[in-house]
């Protein structure tokens, strides 16, 4: 059975998030009232209840907060093995994405930077270990 690789179907709230990524820009909502970055996309700031926000550019840098190495293939579009990382961005929110390259030696806390993958219908952020940087302090607690 043919099963196409999933891609995002933007809605009225999320369209700018995905449009920026088509230009290889990682942008998140930043509240104009209290300055908090937020994700997933939502019209109202859950902190100060302001509707006003900007699509602020992110540094594209963060640290691995958690990860999984997928061994059992469940979707024909994703050949195993591959590694999914949960990246805690410098701006605060955590994003899911694939790790570029091998998972050998992957540890929670490792610093990563964003790169771009031309997936069908949508450019997606992928993450690469910044091996030249010292390990970040634990992001837990």
């Amino acid at each position: 059975m043919e099963l196409a690789r999933p891609y995002p179907r933007p809605d009225r709230d999320t369209a700018p998030f995905w449009e920026a990524q088509r230009h290889h820009e990682l942008r998140l909502q930043r509240c104009s009232g209290c300055g908090m970055f937020r994700f997933p996309v939502t019209p109202l700031c859950p902190e100060c209840r302001s509707f006003d926000f900007e699509w602020a550019p992110c540094s594209g840098r963060g640290a691995i907060y958690s990860y999984t190495v997928v061994h059992h293939q469940t979707h024909p579009a994703f050949a195993v093995p591959y590694t999914i990382v949960l990246v805690e961005l410098e701006e605060g929110p955590r994003l899911i994405g694939q790790l570029r390259g091998s998972s050998d030696g992957l540890v929670i806390g490792a610093r990563v930077g964003v790169e771009w993958d031309e997936a069908p219908n949508q450019s997606l952020p992928v993450w690469a270990i910044e091996t030249d940087l010292p390990a970040a302090p634990q992001v837990s607690e």
């Binding site: 958690s66 999984t68 061994h71 469940t74 979707h75 994703f78 999914i84 949960l86 899911i96």
Partner: protein
Amino acid sequence: MTTIRNKTAIAGIGQTEFSKDSRRSTLRMALEAILEALADAGLEPRDIDGIVRMSANDDVFEIDLVRALGLPNLRFFAEIPHGGGAACGTVACAAAAVAAGVADVVVTFRSLNERSERRFGESSLGGGLGGWMQYYLPHGLVTPAQWVAIFAQRYLHEYGYTTEEFGRVSVLCRKHAATNTHAMMYERPITMEDHQNSRWISEPLRMLDCTLDTDGACAAVVVSAEKAKTLKSAPVYIAAAAQGTGSRTEMMTSYQRKSLTRLEEAEATARELYRIAEMTPDDIRMVHVYDHFSPLVLTALEAYGFAPPGKAPGLLREGRLELDGSMPMNTHGGHLGEGYLHGFGHIVEAVRQLRGAASNQVPDVMNCLVTSGTGVPTSGLILSKDSY
């Protein structure tokens, strides 16, 4: 303020066989389970005036049941979202309706051909995806096991455990299933070695950390405590019933929370249950914990107050959750051993234990805590033999 404590009861339960291939429709199985539950209570189909269903991934609708059972009318019908988080929630909703006088006899059920038809462990979604899925599925994070693996990795990291702690959950459930004639894994226990040798699904989850896929159906009938006393089977009182979401909640991907090793939705549900039942975790004699994936059984035990954060593995190491332990868990084998009816089998088992009629009967069980899905908006019940 008044609560719903012991105002309602489960008066009847029904359950089909659990198998890899039911060879019949989910509607037919739902009807079989519901008729059995009605007979168990000594009620007739015409007595039903309310139905609560689980909305996610279920193709049996209340109007199908109205037609098939020949009901003249339903005056109360509702559905609870978010997959396995809804199981106890259907009973909570039914109890609220009965306590409020909106309905007298409310049926709740779950019916699935999850093994022979659509398997949940396999992704079936492609193309353009909206809603919450747009953030995860395009990257290849496509199944529940993968969503849960992100939480499980964090648990190992923060507390310094190995996957053997997950294995203890699977071994315990399979041990209980091995002596439950109704279980898919009857007479098929596993060892820790089996667990550690089972293949990776999505690290740190192995195959033996993951639920079975099951065909089958369960049902329960909820009535007022007064009515239950007049019916055929001994009432099992609903001492407490509650739902919870926690903060910043998503459908299995609540990755923005401060901690990924705490189950906020379960902690919130626990607070409500203990408040309504006027109990503490120390009062609970038996637990039936939702076990679609073994790691979240540990965090659920912590969320419901049976161990401090990070300490649930001690409960298993000390044997406290065994049949002869201080608080037996998943005496039927749970999803990992009996079968996966999205938490409904746990409710049925709790009723059986409180009636003294379970396969692995534990003596003198006075109450059971039943929990529903983890990592999703959830629900729970405290069921009691007495209406204290």
